[in-house]
């Protein structure tokens, strides 16, 4: 009897969790399904779970759209350039906070942690004026360059935690052999923090790829649009609203990189999100 009750509980649990999974993943399914529909099917009064005759028309249209292709390229370009510099500078700074003893370290570290309290939005206005002075409006610079200064205190913190856990003996013996800090950083420490680096790279990628507010402030000509900006123009009630299958085809193509990255990095992320406790 007890055994039966136990099995029954498990069955219910799995049914519930599967149901929850379906709900969580449903928008993704709906996006793909709608992108294969005709306009009539997306606006139909009955439920069309999956189009009976899937059509690739929307994809053909979106691939013919030069602005979309250009935005896709822009997104890849700006994300890559920003990601590389941000990741490198975060690693360097995390090294300073974890492996070197220098006077003032604790004060500077405390300052860095306290910047996490400042919402990014509070800095948007003055930064805009500053970049305007530099004549950086309508360039990718404001989206990329600030990251090169170890943008993202939470990420530095996450990496510092991982670097601190490496035993001190590792670099002490290297110092005996006359290695410089740059050598220790590059040859000993970095190879040991590959997993947290992968997490940080993924989280940075997700943030950059989906970022809307900052790009929309600085990129005002169509040539420079990133994907989120371009897609937001597809649905603008003051202009013409594009047919839903076209919007959804663009949406599917936008989310593919996120899905791929998440699929490969999930084993790192799911464990370390908990440590860092942020998106």
């Amino acid at each position: 009897m007890r055994q039966l009750w136990h099995i029954l509980k498990r069955v219910f649990l799995y049914i519930f969790l599967t149901g929850a999974t379906v709900m969580m993943a449903f928008p993704l399914f709906w996006m793909i399904s709608s992108s294969l529909k005709t306009v009539q099917e997306t606006n139909s009064a009955g439920i069309v779970w999956f189009p009976p005759h899937p059509t690739l028309q929307a994809y053909i249209e979106i691939f013919r759209n030069e602005i979309f292709l250009r935005s896709y390229f822009n997104s890849i370009f700006y994300t890559t350039l920003a990601l590389v510099g941000t990741l490198a500078s975060i690693a360097v700074v995390a090294y300073a906070f974890s492996r070197i003893n220098w006077p003032g370290r604790n004060i500077v570290f405390f300052l860095m942690l306290s910047t996490m309290m400042i919402p990014a939005q509070a800095l948007l206005v003055p930064q805009y004026v500053f970049f305007n002075k530099l004549d950086w409006i309508n360039t990718f610079n404001p989206l990329i360059i600030p990251g090169y200064f170890a943008g993202g205190a939470a990420m530095v913190f996450l990496l510092r935690q991982s670097m601190s856990q490496i035993p001190k003996e590792m670099d002490e013996s290297a110092v005996m052999d006359g290695a410089s800090h740059i050598q220790i950083f590059w040859e000993i420490i970095l190879p040991l923090v590959k997993a947290p680096m992968a997490t940080i790279a993924t989280l940075l990628f997700v943030g950059l790829w989906s970022s809307l507010l900052v790009p929309i402030m600085y990129l005002q000509t169509v040539d420079l649009y990133t994907l989120p900006i371009y897609i937001s123009t597809l649905y603008n009630i003051n202009l013409t609203v594009q047919p839903w299958p076209t919007i959804m085809a663009a949406a599917v193509l936008t989310t593919v990189p996120l899905m791929v990255v998440f699929f490969f990095a999930q084993r790192y992320i799911l464990d370390s999100v908990v440590i860092s406790g942020m998106k």
Partner: protein, 384 residues
């Protein structure tokens, strides 16, 4: 000079890297010099040099992109600075703040909308996250797959593409969500009653908040008098001011994956023997949850509460994608950051925008401090 935007940004990136290297070397040499003056040993000097060398990208960035901008924006918030105009900047004292707090109905609406999200969206999000975490915390096969699925919305979360998919799903007439609701309600009449009751409560709640921001409760009274909605009523997600915020709540609850992972970590930290001992004493699962897990989870609840509130205060993308320029609706959903974006980057009122930024900053600090002050009363740190 250079027309190609790609080449020009690469050149600028290289210049930035050179700038970082030069300033880092300068800062580090300065630090070593000071260490020398204080008669530090040779090794201490070396460490000072290396430490400042490696840390200065952040230090320099902090000065350029945080300290100086914050200082300027504080100054501008007391002026009538407009970026497009050629007129000199005038010091106008507290006028911006007074206008924001007393005369600006959009800003008031944005604060009240944030309150709605905080009082309705945040508890719902945390409850769903906690529930999912408890369900996942049962040591079973395939737990990882479920965890991945529940975290997926966080990764997709606020991408414009996914938000537009929600827009499609939330269509009042033909959207899949309302079609499903209709189908279920037709099949099971009892659920129909529950659905109508929920619609009624939600609309009353929403009308109440709209009443505060419009300072007129006629809409609230109308909803109240109309009574239980008709049998065929469905939620008007993105079409009615009474529902615009609820749609955002739905999105927030959908993206509860981060909170769930944190609760899951908390549940894992609770020693097994606590539960086993209680089980021997005959306590059921429900009782064990409220008497053991819940109090011991309070630090995690506290953490999620703080991070969640800050996130509510900073919400932008959903409002932008769902309601941008949607004239009757935007005022019922406008958020503080949307309003900041609108007044700074469309009206170019830098002075006014700076005042908004400082108010957001102050609100976040005050809310966080209040939370930390209140935590002594309910957060239990016995395990730590």
């Amino acid at each position: 000079m250079l027309q190609n935007p790609y080449i020009s940004v690469i050149i600028n990136a290289i210049i930035a890297i050179l700038f970082i290297i030069v300033t880092s070397l300068a800062l580090a040499s300065l630090a070593r010099l000071i260490a020398k003056l204080f008669k530090a040993t040779r090794i201490q000097q070396e460490n000072t040099f290396a430490g400042y060398l490696f840390a200065s990208p952040w230090i320099v960035g902090f000065l350029i992109f945080v300290v100086v901008p914050l200082g300027f924006s504080l100054y501008w918030s007391f002026t009538d600075f407009r970026i497009a105009s050629k007129e000199p900047i005038n010091w106008i004292g507290l006028d911006n703040y007074i206008r924001l707090l007393t005369a600006d109905s959009s800003f008031r609406a944005s604060i009240i909308n944030t309150l709605y999200l905080t009082f309705l969206g945040l508890p719902l999000e945390m409850a769903v996250a906690l529930f999912l975490a408890v369900m996942l915390n049962q040591k079973m096969k395939g737990e990882r797959v479920f965890r991945m699925a529940f975290y997926l919305p966080v990764i997709l979360g606020f991408n414009t593409a996914v938000l537009l998919c929600w827009r499609l799903m939330l269509n009042g007439g033909t959207g899949i969500i309302n079609q499903l609701i209709r189908a279920v309600v037709n099949a099971v009449p009892l659920i129909g009653w529950i659905e109508r009751a929920l619609i009624y409560v939600q609309e009353l709640f929403s009308a109440f908040f709209l009443g505060i921001s419009n300072q007129s409760f006629t809409l609230f009274n109308r909803v109240l008098e109309a009574g239980l909605p008709a049998a065929n009523r469905v939620p008007l997600w993105v079409e009615s001011p009474l529902w615009s915020k609820m749609s955002v709540v739905l999105l927030i609850v959908w993206g509860c994956g981060t909170m769930m992972l944190i609760f899951l970590a908390g549940l894992n930290n609770i020693p097994k023997d606590y539960h086993e001992a209680a089980q021997v004493d005959g306590a059921g699962a429900w009782r064990r949850f409220w008497k053991i897990s819940f109090p011991l989870l309070s630090p995690y609840i506290f953490y999620n509460l703080i991070v969640g509130m800050i996130a509510m205060l900073q919400i932008f993308e959903p409002i932008f994608v769902l309601y941008r320029d949607n004239q009757p609706l935007i005022s019922s959903a406008i958020s503080m950051v949307y309003y900041l974006w609108n007044s700074t980057f469309r009206q170019f009122e830098i002075g006014y925008g700076s005042a908004i930024s400082w108010l957001i900053l102050i609100i976040i600090l005050v809310v966080t401090l209040i939370q930390f002050w209140m935590q002594k009363r309910w957060v239990n740190y016995d395990l730590y």
